[in-house]
Every structure is written in structure tokens, then in C-alpha cells.
């Protein structure tokens, strides 16, 4: 009986963490993701040197001559390319998701908060961006302004934000009518304060989930661009390994399948974590 007195109110964070912990798939995804991050950070120290250097005869099959994943058509060590590519994929993925979310939140928050003409204009603007096929649009940006990693990141962000803007706007439309917002307004909080301090924190959960998924999409996006050869040619990336080796699938299919597995596993892990966050941050959804 004395147990009952020990029950304390838990913080929402602790509750969300508990929810997340119970989702085994999400925890597994998180573990895999952390491993990949560790490889991306520590890998270049364990595998120093330029991954573009020729180390052995081209098309050495995996496991032979000490090359765990074999060599590609230029005799480069695929494992080394993958390890160095991990950093690029993750960095571009995170940075592009950040750009996406920043633009998306700004547009969505302004549209949802101010309503009226501003909302109309911003949503038309959003619809316009949804009409342009994302990959083609980013290809055009990269083609016109150069294929540096920074430009690729900006390009991915510029074409991906509409989804975030829509979610943010929907949340703002819902929350701005709630009593605590009216109360804050009556209490003299200015518009800027209402947007950033009152509404935005409460609108964040679905945006966080979307942001997590955006990292996955951005990684896929970067892989697609570098598969097409639209990337910095001096930086190893996963899509680029596949793109440059794809003419040799008859002789050495592992040069293409293995890097694909790396992309697949990373994005899968991110999406499992995203699902877990979704369940953890929207407990109401879970009860359905």
C-alpha cells in the first residue's frame, strides 16, 4: 500500500521516453542509427587515407585479398568508400532536413498564425512548389549553381519544405484557437511571443516526427543526385558508388548492391525511429 504514495507525476519527456523505449522496432532503429553515426565519425580514423585511391586490382570479390567488401571498377576499396561516404550522407541528410524544417516552419507558422491574405498567398506559394517535381527541380538548381555539397543541401531543402509547411500550418490553425493562447494574448503577449513561445512549442511534436522522416528522405535524395553524378566528384558518397559502378553489374554486382544496403539500412533505421517518435509524442494516436 505504501507504493501508492511514491507515485510521482512524471514529466512529459519521461513519459515519451518510456513510450519510445517500449517500441522495440524503434529502439532497434536507434541502435543501428547510432552505430552508423559512430562509423561516420570514427571511420575515417580507423580507415585513414583517400578512399579514392586504387588499392588493388579492380573487381576483387568481397573477402579476398583482405578487402572485406571487395574493390570496385577502379580498384578502390568499397568498405573505405562506404565509411567515408557515411559522413557525407548523414551530414547532408541532417543539414538538408534542417533547411527544410526552417523554411517549412517559417512559412507554415506565418500562414497559420496570421490567416487571411498572408495565409492565402503563402499557401499558393506552397502549392506552386509542390507542382515542381522535386528531383528535377533540385537537379536544375545543382546544374545552374554548381554541384558542391552546400548547394546540394540547399537544393534538397528548397524543394522539400512544403510538407513541413502544411503540417506546421495545420497545427497553428488548431492551437491558435485554444484557450491558453487566448489567455496569453489577453495577458499582453505580443504576436512574436505568441508564435515562438506559446504556439510553436506545442506544435512541435508532429513537426519533430516529420523532421526525422525528412532526414531519411534527404539521404535518399542525396543518394539519387549522386547516383546521377550530380555531386562533388571529390567526395565519396553512397549514391555515387552505385552510379559509377552500375555499368559493371554483370561482372561485379556487389559493387552496386552493397552500397544500396547501406542507404537502405540507414533510411530504414531513421524511419523506425520516426515511427517510434510518432507513437511517443502523440500518445492519443496510439490509443486508436
Amino acid at each position: 500500500m505504501s507504493d501508492q504514495t511514491q507515485i510521482k507525476a512524471r514529466s512529459p519527456f519521461a513519459e515519451a521516453f518510456e513510450m519510445f523505449r517500449r517500441n522495440h522496432a524503434a529502439v532497434a532503429g536507434l541502435v543501428v542509427l547510432l552505430l552508423i553515426v559512430a562509423v561516420a565519425i570514427l571511420g575515417p580514423f580507423l580507415y585513414p587515407g583517400n578512399p579514392f585511391d586504387m588499392v588493388w586490382a579492380p573487381f576483387t570479390p568481397p573477402g579476398q585479398e583482405g578487402y572485406l567488401l571487395g574493390t570496385d571498377y577502379l580498384g578502390r576499396d568499397i568498405l573505405s568508400l562506404l565509411i567515408h561516404g557515411a559522413k557525407v550522407s548523414l551530414t547532408v541528410g541532417l543539414a538538408a532536413a534542417f533547411v527544410t524544417v526552417t523554411i517549412g516552419i517559417t512559412v507554415g507558422a506565418l500562414a497559420g498564425f496570421y490567416r487571411g491574405l498572408i495565409e492565402e498567398a503563402l499557401m499558393r506559394f506552397t502549392e506552386f512548389f509542390q507542382v515542381l517535381p522535386t528531383l528535377l527541380f533540385s537537379m536544375v538548381i545543382v546544374a545552374l549553381f554548381g554541384a558542391s555539397l552546400t548547394m546540394i543541401t540547399i537544393a534538397i531543402g528548397l524543394v522539400s519544405w512544403p510538407a513541413v509547411a502544411r503540417i506546421t500550418r495545420a497545427e497553428f490553425l488548431r492551437i491558435r484557437e485554444l484557450e491558453y493562447v487566448t489567455a496569453a494574448r489577453a495577458g499582453g503577449v505580443r504576436n512574436g511571443g505568441l508564435i515562438f513561445k506559446v504556439i510553436l512549442p506545442n506544435a512541435l511534436p508532429p513537426i519533430i516526427v516529420q523532421a526525422a522522416l525528412m532526414v531519411g528522405s534527404a539521404i535518399l535524395f542525396e543518394a539519387g543526385l549522386s547516383f546521377l553524378g550530380l555531386t562533388d566528384p571529390n567526395v565519396a558518397s553512397w549514391g555515387q558508388i552505385i552510379g559509377s559502378n552500375r555499368e559493371y553489374i554483370l561482372d561485379a554486382s556487389y559493387t552496386v548492391t552493397v552500397p544500396g544496403v547501406a542507404i537502405f539500412v540507414t533510411v530504414l533505421a531513421i524511419s523506425l525511429v520516426g515511427d517510434g517518435l510518432n507513437d511517443a509524442l502523440n500518445p492519443k494516436l496510439r490509443q486508436r
Binding site: E127, F128, Q130, V131, L132, P133, T134, L135, L136, F137, M139, V140, I141, V142, A143, L144, F145, G216, L220, A223, G224, F227, L228, G229, L230, G239, I242, G243, R246, I249, L250, S253, V256, T257, G260, I263, F264, V265, V267, L268, S271, L272
Partner: protein, 325 residues
């Protein structure tokens, strides 16, 4: 009549969107370093400042920006998207040559994904925790996480190289002679793998939504009524439930056109499918700006037309949309 009014409104809005695409195109050309004249000069092996100024005047590049924008839009309205210095042909000609291949791929992948996605969703909803439901969930995860070009290469290795069921590349067998039917058959044969590849992303999406939508509808009162009056279970599912579960799936499919075209660019590259995506890639690598921007314009046009078609389909299957006018 209400329908006609809506249609006119939609088309008017579509035209505005397209003009916005042109403005964007124009802005990008002007923001990008270098212009057409630099390209021409580079092709000629260099030119002096006087000659370059002369060429600039010829192309109207010495005019104020707003005049240039006006004449650009004016030319596009007359189906003149400029001239490709790389292919030495008008851009519209290049695009019309490649457009049918892309349209075929995009629409067949969409229809294939919709049909299979809906079927999977309907059957999975019969048993929310059954094996098919788990398969749909797994499939959805796979469809999201697998890079589409990788899926394509895997299918290529499996079904053209290891088991030679389908051709490796291209759109038709040039050695085939004869009338329409054998030609069409050859194209269909070449289409199978690209369509499967491109469709795979979207089957996942549609089947998951269709399952959720069916589950919601199956729990409603009128479905219970239909069951209670003794209709066959199959009729309840297909005639009463599916009809009401379908509109959200179709709406989602309509929103995916731009994603399907993006995927098509990668799929075309993998299977050497002679469409707009391939043209886009070669012209980007050749720095052929007029062609690239022409393709962006036409792909936006395809998305807009796709959205209009989705609207029409929604009107056919959902009387509530019709009522709204």
C-alpha cells in the same frame, strides 16, 4: 453547369501556376552565373567583347529584365521554349520526342501501384492483425527506405541478367518489324521492370492508406446494416465499403504525381528508358540550359494535368465532391 464552372476555374489556376513556373525559370537563368552568350562564345572558342555585346543585343539580353521576362513568357505561349545549342534543335521538338515515353512510364506506374495497392489494402483490412497486414506494413517500410534506383538495379540483376525474362535496356526492340500490335507488345515487354520499380514506392504508400481507410469504413454503421440485411460479405466489402474507402487513396495518388516524375528520372536512367528524365540528365551534364528549363516546365505541366485528372476521377467516384460544386 457547376462542373463546367469548376473546370474553367481549375484550368485558369493551372495556367497561373504555369506562368509562375516560367517566372521561376527566368529568375534562375538570371541568377545563375554566365549566360547564353558565354556558352556560345565558349563554343566558338572565345570571342571579343564587341562581338559578345552584339550577340547579346541579338538575343535581347541588353533589354531591361522585365521586358526580357515578358518576351520569354510570350515566346513560351507560342510553344517556343528556346533553342538547344547542344542538340542543335528547338527545345519543344526535343521534348515532344521524349514526352510520350515518360508519360507512359509515369501513368502506367501510377495505375499499377493504385490497383495493386488498393487490392493489398482491401485484403489486409479483412484481417487487421493477419499475415497480409504485416506484409503491407513491411512493404511500406521497404518502399520508403529502398532507394528506387537500387530497387531497379536489383530487379535488373534478377530478372534480366540472372533470369533473362525481360530486356536490359531501352523501350522497344528495333529488330521487330510489323504493325502496331507487335510493336506495342515489345514496348509492353520493355515496360514491365521500369513500371514495377517505379510502382514499388507507391504501392507501399497506397496499400497502407487503403488498409487504414478500409478499417475505418468497415467499422461504420452502414456496413453493419449491409451485413445485417444479409448481403454477401464480398458485396459488403467491394460495393459498400470500398466505395467509401477509395477517395482518400485517390486523393493521395493525385498528390504523388510530382514524386512519380522525380522517381521516373532515376528509373529512366537505370533502364535507359528514352524519356524526359534521361534528356534532363544529358542536358544538365552538357550545361544545355534552355533544354533543362523546358523540361522543368513540361514536368510541371504533367503534374498539373495529373492533378486535374485526379480531380475528375474523384468526382466520378465520390458524389460528395460533386455536390460541393
Amino acid at each position: 453547369m457547376a462542373f463546367l464552372k469548376v473546370l474553367v476555374q481549375r484550368i485558369g489556376y493551372a495556367v497561373l501556376l504555369l506562368i509562375a513556373v516560367l517566372v521561376l525559370n527566368f529568375t534562375m537563368i538570371n541568377l545563375a552565373p554566365g549566360d547564353v552568350v558565354d556558352t556560345i562564345a565558349a563554343d566558338m572558342g572565345g570571342a571579343n567583347a564587341e562581338l559578345m555585346a552584339q550577340i547579346r543585343a541579338e538575343y535581347g539580353l541588353d533589354q531591361p529584365v522585365i521586358v526580357q521576362l515578358g518576351s520569354y513568357i510570350g515566346r513560351v505561349l507560342q510553344f517556343d521554349l528556346g533553342y538547344s545549342y547542344f542538340y542543335n534543335r528547338p527545345v519543344t521538338e526535343l521534348i515532344f520526342e521524349r514526352l510520350p515515353a515518360t508519360l507512359l512510364l509515369v501513368f502506367s506506374a501510377q495505375i499499377f501501384a493504385l490497383v495493386l495497392g488498393i487490392l493489398l489494402g482491401v485484403f489486409a483490412a479483412q484481417n487487421p492483425n493477419g499475415p497480409l497486414s504485416h506484409l503491407v506494413t513491411l512493404f511500406a517500410l521497404f518502399g520508403y527506405a529502398a532507394p528506387v534506383f537500387w530497387t531497379g538495379i536489383l530487379l535488373l540483376i534478377a530478372f534480366s541478367l540472372k533470369i533473362p525474362l525481360f530486356p536490359v535496356a531501352g523501350m522497344r526492340d528495333v529488330t521487330i518489324e510489323g504493325g502496331f500490335f507487335p510493336q506495342a507488345l515489345s514496348v509492353a515487354h520493355h515496360l514491365v521492370l521500369p513500371m514495377l520499380t517505379l510502382g514499388s514506392i507507391f504501392i507501399a504508400l497506397y496499400s497502407r492508406l487503403c488498409r487504414a481507410s478500409m478499417l475505418e469504413v468497415l467499422g461504420s454503421d452502414y456496413v453493419r446494416t449491409a451485413k445485417a440485411k444479409g448481403l454477401r460479405p464480398r458485396d459488403v466489402v467491394m460495393k459498400h465499403a470500398l466505395k467509401n474507402a477509395l477517395p482518400p487513396v485517390v486523393t493521395l495518388a493525385g498528390l504523388q504525381f510530382s514524386a512519380v516524375i522525380s522517381g521516373a528520372v532515376l528509373v529512366e536512367t537505370v533502364f535507359s528508358w528514352p524519356g524526359l528524365g534521361q534528356l534532363a540528365l544529358t542536358s544538365i551534364l552538357a550545361r544545355d540550359t534552355p533544354t533543362i528549363l523546358g523540361i522543368l516546365f513540361f514536368s510541371a505541366l504533367v503534374v498539373i494535368v495529373g492533378n486535374l485528372l485526379t480531380d475528375l476521377v474523384l468526382r466520378m467516384i465520390d458524389p460528395r465532391v460533386r455536390g460541393r460544386g
